[in-house]
């Protein structure tokens, strides 16, 4: 198969793109990966995702598919003859997998976003003795309580997954699949969250972290996630640019 039949519009640090890369790797699908410059989006991206203008976009036989969880389901259905299946065949178990992927989609990105954007400025200023502009000072001054609140909410949400996991190897049981793919990219953010939040996620949610590490043993996952330190530095750089 010509690899250009399958194209992924990508950004290396995007959690949502990682989901797609994991799914493609699980199915052994060859593809052409095009890195986007999000500050200067390509005509191809704007044409293929005119509604949201966001990555990831999968282009298959010239047709675009957008929204990461939807792309993962598409990959499972378009390459249904390739093992492994990413979703269970039973309608109830499929519904459960969809419910949990939807849960991750709804809750985790928002809290991570709050964490990193609002509170990393604090860290930059402290670490690099940066001149604090008025905006950063205002945000910095309301830090303590808000950070604790965000941490509590984040751990509360992770604890829902902790409970759902129970004694299972993966979220839906013995097989890695759609619901795990929805969550596992966030693992590369844990280092940044722990550093900024001054907390140990493993201490709070040991089963979640064990689950993440188990997923990382799969080549499809370990090759699709960037180094957590690289992610952390990237975040700091982005925020540094905003405060100078």
């Amino acid at each position: 198969m010509d690899v250009s039949e399958v194209v992924l519009l990508d950004f290396w640090a995007s959690l949502f793109c990682m989901r797609v890369k994991i799914a493609l790797a699980e199915k052994g699908v060859q593809y052409d990966c095009k890195e986007e410059n999000l500050a200067n989006k390509s005509q191809l991206l704007l044409q293929m995702n005119p509604v949201h203008k966001k990555i990831p976009v999968l282009i298959h036989h010239g047709k675009p598919i957008s929204e990461s969880n939807i792309i993962v389901q598409y990959i499972d259905e378009a390459w249904q003859n390739k093992h492994p299946p990413l979703l269970p065949s039973d309608p109830y178990l499929k519904a459960q997998a969809r419910f949990w992927a939807d849960f991750v989609d709804k809750k985790v990105p928002i809290i991570c976003h709050i964490f990193l954007l609002r509170f990393s400025i604090d860290l930059i200023c402290v670490e690099k003795n940066t001149q604090i502009n008025d905006g950063a000072r205002r945000i910095w001054s309301t830090k303590g309580e808000e950070l604790e609140k965000a941490k509590r909410e984040f751990i509360e949400w992770l604890n829902v997954l902790e409970e759902q996991l129970g004694d299972k190897a993966y979220l839906m049981g013995e097989s890695f699949g759609y619901a795990d793919i929805a969550m596992v990219p966030f693992y590369c953010w844990f280092y940044a969250l722990e550093t900024i939040g001054k907390m140990s996620i493993e201490k709070e949610c040991p089963k979640v972290v064990a689950w993440m590490k188990r997923c990382m043993e799969r080549e499809s996952v370990s090759k699709s996630l960037p180094d957590p330190h690289k992610v952390y530095e990237f975040r700091l750089q982005k925020l540094n640019n905003k405060t100078t």
Binding site: I65, E67, I70, I71, Q73, Y74, P91, Y92, K94, F103
Partner: protein
């Protein structure tokens, strides 16, 4: 095919799409109406994560989140009418627009309804922008998926009733025939489907509810709970 129950509120457009799905599939079910100010212990047991409606109970096992429920109904009662197309690309496209409705169109409409003055004007711009994408997607088609109605029509079906009732309640018109000819034609056609026509909530009761919401009595509830539960 087992015992089916639906936990819902009388007015929620998210519950209605599930009602339509069950009726179109010819599934017998029992309705349990929830009072969101006083949720039943059953609801809290069946949806401990979100504590919201609608919840479908099939042979005692709960399925939550209306889009997940729609696909479950389609896959479980899989003889006869099918909501989602078979082709993977067509399915992905339908799911994309369903997500767009639930995350963009409906919330922007709700914000437009619940705001005033300049805020409302800004909210109006957003909902119109969203609806223009939907209008374009409907171009050249009788229903969202083509000649026959399906999944996306169920998802967007709230447009047939709620904006019109809100216009009657508080004189807030949104869907102009000149700006949205495709949507308005679709609304007439889909609105004519017997199952859809026969299941709208009572209009007077809806008007009263919308008045209450705007008058601030309902506002606490609707900012605390996500719109899904309304």
């Amino acid at each position: 095919m087992g015992e089916v129950k639906l936990f819902r509120t009388w007015s929620s457009p998210f519950a209605l799409r599930v009602v339509w799905a069950l009726k179109l599939k010819g599934v017998e079910y029992e309705t349990i109406y929830e009072d969101l100010a006083n949720k039943s212990s059953s609801l809290l047991e069946y949806n401990p994560v979100h504590k919201k409606v609608p919840v479908l109970l099939h042979n005692g096992i709960p399925i939550c989140e209306s889009l997940v429920i729609l696909e479950y109904i389609d896959e479980t009662w899989n003889e006869g009418v099918r909501f989602l197309p078979k082709d993977p690309l067509a399915r992905a496209t339908a799911r994309f627009w369903a997500k767009f409705n639930d995350e963009q169109v409906f919330p922007s409409f709700f914000r437009y309804f619940m705001r005033q003055g300049e805020d409302q004007e800004k909210a109006k711009e957003k909902v119109l922008e969203n609806l223009k994408f939907v209008e374009e997607h409907l171009k050249g088609k009788k229903f969202f998926d083509g000649e026959v109605f399906g999944f996306l029509d169920l998802v967007f079906g709230w447009l047939v009733c709620y904006p019109g009732v809100i216009n009657k309640a508080i004189n807030l018109k949104l869907l102009d025939e000149q700006m949205f000819p495709n949507l308005c034609t679709w609304m007439e056609q889909f609105g004519d489907v017997p199952v859809i026509k026969e299941t709208w909530p009572d209009e007077e009761a809806l008007i009263h509810k919308f008045h209450k919401m705007r008058e601030g009595l309902g506002i606490y509830i609707y900012t605390k709970l996500r719109y899904e539960a309304s």
